[in-house]
Amino acid sequence: YKNVYERGEKRDARLLPEKLTVYTTLVGLLNARNYNFGGEFVEAMIRQLKECLKANMYNEAVYLVRFLSDLVNCHVIAAPSMVAMFENFVSVTQEEDVPQVRCDWYVFAFLSSLPWVGKELYEKKDAEMDRILSQTESYLKRRQKIHVPMLQVWSADKPHPQEEYLDCLWAQIQKLKKDRWQERHILRPYLAFDSILCEALQHNLPPFTPPPHTEDSVYPMPRVIFRMFDYTDDPEGPVMPGSHSVERFVIEENLHCIIKSHWKERKTCAAQLLSYPGNNKIPLNYHIVEVVFAELFQLPVPPHIEVMYTTLLIELCKLQPGSLPQVLAQATEMLYMRLDTMNTTCIDRFMNWFSHHLSNFQFRWSWEDWSDCLTHDLDKPKPKFVREVLEKCMRLSYHQRIIDIVPATFSVLSPANPSCIYKYGDESNKSLPGYTVALCLTIAIKNKTSNDEIFGILKDVPNPNQDDDDGVVPGTLFHEVFKTLAESDEGKLHVLRVVYEVWKNHPQMIAVLVDKMIRTQIVDCAAVANWIFSPELAHDFTRFYIWEILHSTIRKMNKHVVKIQKELEETKARLARQHKRRDSDDDDDDDDRSSDREDGPLEEQIERLQEKVESAQSEQKNLFLVIFQRFIMILTEHLVRCETGGIDVITPWYKNCIERLQQIFLQHHQIIQQYMLTLENLLFTAELDHHILAVFQQFCALQA
């Protein structure tokens, strides 16, 4: 009976961390009734904490620490033993030769529990707490923050500074201490039961030694706190807590928790967010919008898939149609105003979100409000953003629709009508479905037939799409392509160039064709990378679709490696099972030769797969090296040109390019970590221009 209760408690507490104080109160009341229950519960929690830390589940571990802290408030755990645990946490900062991110986590776990339990701990053990806090402060002062610029959404400090997360939390705790640990936002049900709880016997936490650092330890990456609103943004409503108030921290933590609990169920998630307690004392809609965008724009990557946030915001608008859409519009306007200093990756996400959102609301927007962008150079962030949004909106609808929804003055930003460009022969506006074209190419390659024969085949290729015009494939296009479908790198580059020339008004088609050509092995990933950096594509280099293609290419490469590794693991497992079966066989007829024969095919397969894995991994590494090399070349060219010409290095093109380089590091950081030595010794050496080297150094600092 007790065990069921325990497990139920833990499950619920974990599932709904934002309701933490409800569960701790319950545990407190149970402990008051049954001392042993409390003891076993605490022991189980400590065990789970250790397991989480060993399994690199640091987010879960933070909630466990917070839960334990609140159990002090419920008289389940004695305050001095909690202080002792925190002493051990912060002592991690004294460890030698450990990554900074390890020390960061323990400091974070300590500081982030203080809003809940700071008052109680300070009342009981002020001298010890002061000591721990002072140790924390000296750690925070000496830790390096090279990584910060790479994680900031905006490069400007106005109107809100993009603070490193530990700095912000420290400021919040400092303020809390100055306010004598008075914290008024957290709901504390246990206060109502004080008379019962204060009679309870408390337990001492066993001494807690943080598990040692191992090679397999992977700590959370540092973060930058995203802020876009303050109390001036909602003058009519309740006052938004300041950026260094502990209330702000608690609200944001809880809202993030809600999303983490319910991200798979958008309606529930929206409902839970909107029913966050205290919603008449805080401008809840603003907090929610800020927290959602904080996740969407988070660098390196959002916690959940991007499309979730779009759909979540739509659900929120449905539930609060009278107020939330206005806040969202206000947010959009603010984000637009600050495009000049926004990180390119974040601009991509903003653009993807906005266009998808509009497509759910008949593309209604006050475009004229943004006519200021028409006065800028078209490569500046604001007009560029509008162009990309309109192109994405078109992809979700059709060309004429987009022409109709924007004022006539915006025509310079409108996307081209997506169509094929035939160099020879008749004009046609029909776009060939990518699948038909890919099918044709595959057939030609597989059959290795002559060009004339290919032509004949193509005319008769059955169509999955019934559109009759698809039968009329312009022979000249494919002549060009097949002529140069050699095995050589030059041939592959030429194929890509031809595809670009024909489809440059229809970027989506280019992406589809490149995808198909990689999958049918007409071109390889490195060829695509080289093509993207080639002079022919310079004109489109800063357009979003190019980077869509590059990242999709890298993703395919990564998935390919993972797939073969999995095959290898599965085959090895099969061999192991076969051995086990043989070993457990009672058969005395232990013929060595027959076992070898049995193992033979599997062992051969494993050998082949090992080779395949090595070759795939080598191709993957080569892809990244090619990409980095081309970035270095193209950036160095620009920097040299600027320096000799005496012009400012920071042009819109430069900002875009250097942030694209950053994006490669951030988006694929786990894989790139494997190549650190090669990158350091081969590419990102000390002779490199400091502008480019800084990106590499910031990346290194992320897991240092």
């Binding site: 833990k10 798979k264 898939i305 499309v307 979700l396 998935k559």
Partner: protein, 157 residues
């Protein structure tokens, strides 16, 4: 065993579950069909406009992952689009995300509906209504400009 990992399984994921619908033309028993549905990477997409293109579908459904194939639903007689399609992903996880975040949102201003499909087989791209389109367009009474106007029962012969 780390009980923490076990507990996350308890979280609800209703959007990605199987619906009550079962294709009556499926060759095989109920058990086979459910087995296939539970590991399928293919989604049926319904309530499309007749004018919605493959490119639009690719753009929208590409937001939950890399698409392997799109098969447009066709009128059996006219061989024109009749308002549904199949979207196949390379991985089930991507299809699940489509069920969670694209199902019930708009494409071409219409709320579209997605559901698990046991897998495309030749012939399944055709409407099963008597007139060649989908069954729902045979009997509906309302006027829908994106789906050929009135339902076939209402239309003049």
């Amino acid at each position: 065993m780390c009980s923490v990992a076990m507990l996350s399984v308890l979280r609800s994921d209703s959007y990605a579950e199987l619906s009550q619908y079962r294709d009556q033309h499926f060759r095989g028993n109920r058990y086979d069909q459910e087995r296939l549905l539970k590991k399928s990477c293919t989604l049926y997409v319904g309530n499309l406009s007749f004018y919605t293109t493959e490119e639009q579908i690719y753009e929208l459904f590409g937001k939950s992952g890399d698409i392997k194939k799109i098969i447009m639903g066709l009128d059996k007689v006219k061989k024109t689009a009749c308002g549904f399609c199949f979207v196949e992903y390379y991985s089930r996880g991507d299809a699940e995300n489509a069920m969670r975040y694209i199902n019930g949102t708009r494409l071409d201003d219409r709320i579209i509906r997605t559901d698990w499909d046991a897998g495309f087989k030749e012939g399944r791209q055709y409407g099963r209504g008597r007139s060649g389109g989908q069954v729902r367009d045979e009997y509906r009474q309302d006027y829908d400009a994106g789906r050929g106007g009135y339902g076939k029962v209402v239309q003049p012969q």
